[in-house]
Symmetry: C2
Subunit: 420 residues, 2 copies
C-alpha cells in the first residue's frame, strides 16, 4: 500500500486496503471482507476508523490534507501523521503502556493503525457527565514527568535530543496552530474567534488588559523558543481515554520541542475548566459539589504526582548533560542537586500556571471550544461559568510567579465559584 | 575540486587547487603559480591561508578532521565548515559589511574562501598591547543587536526560523565543546583543565561553591535548550579583527540557536578580562590606567548600543510571530509593546551577565585560556589578575538577577582592581 499515491480511506475501502497488511490481518482476525468498520472521528482534523474482526480490533487513524472541521479551504500537511507516529513511539518507550500500541505505520498514506482502546471513553465526556476515575491524577502526573524528563537533556544523549529537536522542528503547521490560536488570537478580535455573546463586556476588558497581553506573548516566546523537551503538545482532556482505573493518552500530532511546563499546564487548565462547568449541569444548586471538588483534586494531584515523579527521576536517572552528577553528588554536593531541582520545579510551576491561564482563555475566546461549556445550552448560564474561568485564567497568567502552591489556586477557584 | 575526496591544503598545493576557481583567479589576479601563500592559522582548530596575487588577496580557511591544538586523537567533524558558511551568509545579510565577504564555499573540502581583512589585526592582541579602537563598542553592539534580533521569531518567518533551527541543531560536536568546556569542566577537576598554580586555593573555593555550581548549570540549560536566535557562538575578542575605526567579526563555526544573551555576555566578559589583565603589563603601577578604563567603557558601550539598536529594531522591524503589532500597537496599546520590550531586555541582561561570569571562569580554569593572561610571565602576578576576574565572574553568575545596570558591574570591577 505504500507505493500507491495517498488516498483517503472509506468504510468500504478499508478492509481491502488494510487486509493486505499481515500484522493487521492477524490482530483483527477472520477474512477482511467480514470486518466491521465504523468511522468515529469526532475530532477536528482526521479520519478515525474502528475495525473489528474475529480475533479483535484496531483503530486506523488517517490524516486528511485539510482541517476536517473547516474543509479543504484550510489545508494541513499529511506529514502530521509522521510526527504523531514518532511521538507515540517515544512516549511509549518513556512511559510504557500509557499510549496506544502501534501495529502499523504508512507514511505515504498518513496512516497509523494502533490499539483499539475499549471500552475506554474520551475523558472530557465523563467530566461533563460527572463520572470520576480512580488513579487519574497519578497516571497523568507520571505520564507528564516521565515523557518530559526522559525527552530532555536531563536524560537523553544530547546528540539524540538534537536530532529529535530537528525532526520535530519540521512540524511547522501544527505548531503554527498552537502559536496563533492559543497565544495570540484570543487577545484581539481575530477572524476565527467566537465567544458566548453575554461575555462581550469581560472580553473587552481582557483585550484591553496590558499585563495579560504582555504575559501571553512572554509565554508564547517560551513555547516557540524554549526547546526543553518533547511535548505531547495538545494534552487536554479530549486527548485522554479512560476506563475504570486506567487512563490512556492519545493524539500527539502537535508534538514538538517546548518548555517543561506546557503539557502540565494545559492539563491543569482543562480540569479547572471542568470545575467551573459543573454549575451548568446542576438541576439544583450544589448537586455537583462533590464532583466539582474532585476536578480540583485531580488538577492538584496531577501537579503533585508530576513533582514527585520528576524528582524521583532527577535523583535516579539524571544521565544527560544538564546538572551532571559529576559536578554535584560525585563532589559530595548532594544538596546542590536538590537546590537545582527545587529551582527547576519552581520554574516549571510558574510556566505551567501561565500556560494554564492562556489555555483557559483560548477555549472560551478562540476557535476551539470545549464540550463542557458548549453543551450548556442556556447562554447566560454558560457565560457565567465561562466568566469565572476567564478570570481565573487571567489571574494565573499574570500572577504566575506570585502563586506559591496549589492551595493558592484552589482558594482563588473556590472564591470565584462561590462569589462569581 | 568538489568531486575529489577531502584533502588538506598545503602552502604548495593551494595555488594549483584554488587556481581552478574562476572567482578566486579573478579576485587574486595573475597566474596561480605566482601567488604568495602563507599559513597563518593561530586558532585551535583549522588551517588558515592568506593568498595574495597581482589583483588582491583572499583568505582560505579549511577545517581539519581533528582539533588542531590537540591532534588526531580529538576528531572533529569537517561539517563545522558548513555551519560556518551558513552562519556567515546569515550574519552578512543581517548586518551587512560586518563579516568577511565569501568568495567560494566547497562543502566536500570543508573550505571557505573569503575576504582578506587587511591590515586588520586580531582585537585581542591590541587589548594586550594597549591599543584603543574608535567606534568598537558601537559596531559590536550593533552587530549583536542586528544578528540576534533578525535571527529570531521577533523578525523571521517562523517556518524559516524552524528550518534554520533544524539545520544548526546538527552542529552537535561544536555545541558539545561549549556545553562541556564552558559550563561544566571549570567547576570540577576535569581532565583537560589547567590553571595558574597560585590559584589553587581560590579554585578549591569556587568548586565548593554550591550557588555558583547551580547557577552555571542553570545557564547551561538556557544555552542548550533556549533556542531564541542564531548565535555566533564564540564571540570573544579573538573572533574580532580591527583596524582604525573598523571592527569585523569572523569565525562563527560554533553557530547554533541559543539565548539572546549569550554572544553579548561572552563579549562583555572578554573586555572585563582585558581590564584585569592590564596590571600584568604595567612597568610602573597605574601606567595602563587610561587604557584599563577604556576596556570597561567598551564593555559598557557594547551593552548600551546593543540595547539601543535592539529597541530600534523592536519598534521598526517587529514582523515575526512574537509580540505582534496586531496585538499591541494596532490596538492602541503602544506601551504594552514598550513594557514587553523592557521585560525582554531585562531578561537578556540577566542572562548576559550569567554567561559573562562562566566565560571568565572557563578562560582561567578550563582548557582554552586567553593570551592577555597567558602572556603575563610571572605566575604570581598573573594569578593576581586572574583571581580578580574569577571573583567578578562568580559575582556576575550568582547575582545576575540582582545587578541593575552596568554601573553595578563597573563599581565591582573597580573595587576588585583597587583592593584585590
Amino acid at each position: 500500500m505504500s507505493e500507491t499515491p495517498y488516498q483517503a480511506l472509506t468504510v468500504e475501502s478499508l478492509p481491502r486496503r488494510l487486509g493486505e497488511i499481515a500484522a493487521l490481518r492477524e490482530r483483527i482476525g477472520g477474512p477482511p471482507e467480514g470486518w466491521r468498520v465504523r468511522e468515529v472521528g469526532d475530532g477536528n482534523l482526521n479520519l478515525v476508523f474502528i475495525v473489528e474482526g474475529a480475533a479483535g480490533g484496531a483503530v486506523a487513524k488517517q490524516a486528511l490534507p485539510y482541517v476536517r472541521l473547516v474543509g479543504e479551504s484550510w489545508p494541513l500537511p499529511l506529514k502530521r501523521s509522521y510526527f504523531e507516529y514518532h511521538a507515540l513511539t517515544r512516549q511509549g518507550a518513556r512511559d510504557p503502556g500509557r499510549v496506544p500500541a502501534i501495529y502499523h505505520f504508512d507514511e505515504g498514506q498518513a496512516l497509523i493503525a494502533m490499539e483499539y482502546l475499549h471500552p475506554h471513553k474520551i475523558l472530557r465526556r465523563d467530566l461533563e457527565a460527572g463520572v470520576k476515575h480512580k488513579g487519574l491524577a497519578e497516571q497523568l502526573g507520571e505520564f507528564c514527568a516521565r515523557t518530559l524528563f526522559r525527552g530532555s537533556d536531563l536524560s537523553m544523549k544530547t546528540s539524540e535530543r538534537k536530532a529529535d529537536l530537528a525532526l520535530f522542528a519540521d512540524n511547522v503547521a501544527l505548531c503554527d496552530i498552537t502559536e496563533q490560536l492559543v497565544f495570540t488570537d484570543p487577545y484581539y478580535a481575530a477572524p476565527m474567534n467566537r465567544h458566548t455573546p453575554e461575555l462581550d463586556g469581560l472580553v473587552a476588558e481582557l483585550r484591553a488588559d496590558v499585563e495579560l497581553k504582555v504575559a501571553a506573548q512572554q509565554l508564547k516566546l517560551k513555547f516557540c523558543n524554549h526547546a526543553e523537551t518533547l511535548l505531547h503538545g495538545d494534552l487536554h482532556t479530549g486527548s485522554i481515554m479512560a476506563h475504570v482505573g486506567e487512563a490512556r493518552v492519545i493524539d500527539p500530532e502537535f508534538a514538538c520541542y517546548g518548555p517543561f511546563g506546557f503539557d502540565v499546564g494545559m492539563l491543569i487548565a482543562n480540569f479547572l475548566m471542568a470545575y467551573f462547568a459543573q454549575a451548568g449541569y446542576e438541576a439544583r444548586e450544589g448537586e455537583r459539589e462533590d464532583f466539582r471538588g474532585w476536578t480540583l483534586d485531580v488538577a492538584e494531584g496531577v501537579w503533585t504526582r508530576f513533582r514527585t515523579e520528576f524528582a524521583r527521576l532527577w535523583r535516579t536517572e539524571r544521565t544527560g548533560i544538564l546538572f551532571p552528577k559529576a559536578l554535584y553528588e560525585d563532589q559530595g554536593h548532594m544538596l546542590a542537586a536538590e537546590q537545582a531541582l527545587s529551582a527547576l520545579l519552581q520554574d516549571i510551576w510558574i510556566d505551567a500556571l501561565g500556560f494554564a491561564g492562556v489555555e483557559m482563555h483560548r477555549r472560551i475566546l478562540g476557535l476551539a471550544h470545549i464540550a463542557e461549556f458548549e453543551h450548556i445550552e442556556d447562554t447566560g448560564r454558560r457565560a457565567a461559568c465561562e466568566a469565572k474561568a476567564l478570570r481565573l485564567g487571567r489571574h494565573l497568567a499574570v500572577n504566575r510567579a506570585r502563586l506559591l502552591g496549589f492551595a493558592d489556586i484552589r482558594a482563588a477557584a473556590v472564591r470565584l465559584e462561590r462569589q462569581g
